[in-house]
Structures are given as C-alpha cells and as structure tokens.
Amino acid sequence: MTFPTLLADTNADFWFPIQGSSFAEEVDWVYDLILYISLAFFVPMMAFMVWCLFKYIKARGTKAESQISHHTTLELTWSIGPSVLLVWMFVQGSISFLDMRTPPEGSYDIGVQAFKWGWTMDYGNGTFHPELHIVKDEPTKLSMRSTDVIHSLFVPAFRAKKDIVPGRYNYMWFKPTVASEKISDEALAKLKKQNEGTTWDYDKVHTIQTEDGERELQVTPEGYTFFDLYCTEYCGKNHSEMQTVVVVHETQAELEAWIKANSSRGPIPMEEWGELLYARRGCSGCHSVDGSKLVGPSFLDLYGSQHALTTGENQLVDENYVRESIIAPKAKVVAGYQPVMPSYKGQLSDDDIDSIIAYLKSISSNAPTQPAGAEAESEEESAE
C-alpha cells in the first residue's frame, strides 16, 4: 500500500483526495492549470541551465564568449509576457473563490461549535453530535463558533476551509457530491465485537466483505464510510487530535432518521446516555475516566469527592456543582487546572445533564446513596 487509499473506490489521483464536493472539480482544474503553466516555465528553464552547465564549463582563466550586459527588448518581453498568465490564474481563482464564499439561498444550516479539542455539530432541536452528517447534492451552510482560540474547519475532499475566529460569526458552505456508503449490519456487528471495550478508532482500516468483494474501508461506529475533517489552525496541545468525520447521506430522509436516532436519550438508561454524551460532546478530550490527569480533572471517583478550588475553598462535587460546572465552568475551577472549559449553557437539555450526573455517579465510588440530601445541603451552602 504505497499510496494508501482514502476510500476503497476512490478516484483520488496522485495530488488530491477524492473529489467530494461541487468545488473539488473547479479547484482541481485551477490547480492543474497552474501546475501545467508552472511546468511549462520550469522545465525549459532548468533544461537551459543544465545545457549551459554542459556547454560553458571552461577551464579557469578562459574568457567568457560574450560580455553582453543587457538586451532591453528581451528583458521587457520576459518581464511583461508572463503577466498575462498571472492574470488568467488570478481571474480563475477569484471566480471560484467568490462562488465558494456565497452560499445559495435556502442552504441547509448546521451549527458548528469548535473547542479545544473537538467539534460539536448542532442539528437543531437540541441534537448535537461530533460527526458532521449532511445530505448529498444539498448545499449545506455551516455557522461556526469558537469560544476559546482560533480553529479552522477543513475537509480535504471538499477542498473547503474556513477559520473559526472567536468573537466572530464564521460561515462556510459546500455541496457534497459523493455519498458515504453504509456497510451491512452483519459486518458492523462483527466490527463492534472486535472493538469491544476500546474507543472506536476511525482511522483503522478494516477489511470488509461487501457485495463488490473484499474491500479496505474506514468506517464510523455506525458503519458509514466518511471523509476526514481536520482542524487546520494550530490550537494547542491536542491540535492534531481535533479531527472528526463527515458522513454524506444519500437522502434528506436518511439524515433526518439519523438525527432522530441521536436527538435524545430515548429508551436507554441515563448512565448509558451520559456515557455517550461523554464521548460525543468532547468531554473525553479533557477528562479521563481512568484517573489520569488531562486538561481537566478525571471523572473517575469524582462525584461525591471534595476538591480544593483555585480560590482556596473546598468544594463538594455534588449535583449542583456538576450542573454549575457544565453551565458556567469558569465560576469554580479546581485548583491546579486552567479555566479553559467552554460553557455548555443551552447546549445540553436538563435530561442530558442529569444523564451525565448519573454517569458520573456510576463511575464514582464516592457517590452517596442519598443524592437528594446532598443537593439540599449544597443549596443551603450557597444560600449563605
């Protein structure tokens, strides 16, 4: 696998990943245009130089054949001549660029929250998910926000990129033209079984039996093939891990079904939903569940424990404190950590927060049996 494939049925060429959006063809065309113009200059120039080397390397002391010092016509020609080509490149590039900056009316709007170090896509109606799911041939507009530092959203297959500057509203749009595939349920079940107990590795290449025979695929936990989505503006420690995937659905209905399935807890127990939220909403980037210290305190045995705050006070980790820390993370920061967590105010429903609390309780040995009492107690405390 000298030049590994991004997707098994890729039409990626030597220079580029697969053309996944309506921009791709245009951008690649401009790229090729510049490439061929450049080669048309580069190759003859270098050939000329090498020829000169062969022809004019002389013994020391030999006088040069000519001492010509200038030739105004020639110089003017090569100064002005190439400018025409430059204008061509500029015009082509700018036309495509304006196209890429102007979203068509009625684009499908998805909110994007970028944070250190992860993504949350907002599908409306309280549905949030780290993966970007969109519909084929449907112009999609991303309204992007960052609350910490500058990030940049880049989907190579779409040839689209835009910085997400905190303090500003940032937009981008694209129209995907290639849909993701979904592997069969049996194959997915097999993969799930193989990956039991580990976090899902998106980058892992699986050998999967499909209708077209055996293929090498990277898939999401739900069995979709995908395009990579990177953060391309340096944003700190785990910048290189600030990646997610784009899944392109064949139809709007398919996307809506997926959104529905991910919109709320549904029938599953609270702890389990909390665990899912922990993975999906970016908590895992900063809070471990194995006791190791990352950017934030570990969640293991957190609930019910006492923590010193940066102000020097002691704080019991109870339901109120957890809720406050999710909504206003910078109000009470545990000593030894930076106040860097973004607020989840308005992004988690009460049920979501309760689920996270339930999940925290489930992985803590300090969790008291009578949570209601703790809550009442802390309310008294803060009333003082």
């Binding site: 102007t102 979203p103 309204s143 303090g167 500003r168 509203y169 940032n170």
Partner: protein, 128 residues
C-alpha cells in the same frame, strides 16, 4: 568661550565657507509657537460644538496644520535636504497603507463581530 562664537548667526548662507549650519531666526520660532498655541485654543474651543461627523475631520485637520508647522520649521524640513523630507513623508505613506487596509477590512467584516452593538447574529448574510 561663548565670546569666541563665530557670529555666524546672521550669515545664513553658511555653505559659502563650508559651513552647513543653518540657524533659524528667532522671530520665526516665536511666530510658529504663537500659531501652534492659537491652534490648540481653536481645537479645544471647537470641541464644545457638535459638528457631527465633521468633528473628527476638523480635529484632524487642525492637528495636521500643527504637525506641518512643527515639521517645516521646528524640525527645519523646509530648509533641509529634500531626501530627508522624502524619507519622512514616505513613512506616512506606509502608515496610511497599513491603517487604511486594516481599517477598511475591519469595517467590512464588522457585521460578523459577535458583540457589535448593532447586531443580532446576521441571519443569512449573502456574503460571508
């Protein structure tokens, strides 16, 4: 030692004897100072009147006249080598370049600023 002065104060054309000093006449210095003080009073006085959007223009105009006076006479650019004047003025060209482009870009993108007092999030800006 001050008595040994070569009394070149009055001979402005120092170049003739290889002398390049060019002392400015005192009345000129005092005249310029008087003009500067007068302009300061004018600029303070005009601040009491609301000239609307002309306000900044008027203020900058007065300040620029003052700056020109200081430059030409106190800094004797009026009598200096032209090259020095070019050097000095060129700096303003680059300042203008820097300020104008940066400012106009901030102006054109200001609707995207989250805490722009005049906005709610722009609903669907035609252009991003």
């Amino acid at each position: 030692m001050s008595d040994h002065g070569h009394s070149t104060a009055d001979s402005h054309d120092g170049h003739a004897e290889g002398d390049f000093a060019h002392p400015l006449p005192l009345p000129m210095l005092f005249g310029v100072f008087g003009a500067l003080v007068f302009l300061t009073i004018v600029t303070v006085a005009q601040a009491n009147y609301d000239l609307g959007s002309f306000d900044i223009a008027v203020v900058m105009f007065i300040a620029t006249i003052k700056a020109v006076l200081v430059g030409l006479f106190f800094m004797h650019l009026a009598f200096d080598k032209p090259f020095n004047l070019i050097v000095f003025l060129s700096s303003f060209v680059f300042v203008a370049l820097f300020v104008i482009i940066t400012l106009s870009d901030a102006n054109m993108t200001s609707e995207a600023f989250e805490n722009n007092p005049n906005d709610a999030p722009p609903a669907a800006a035609a252009e991003m």
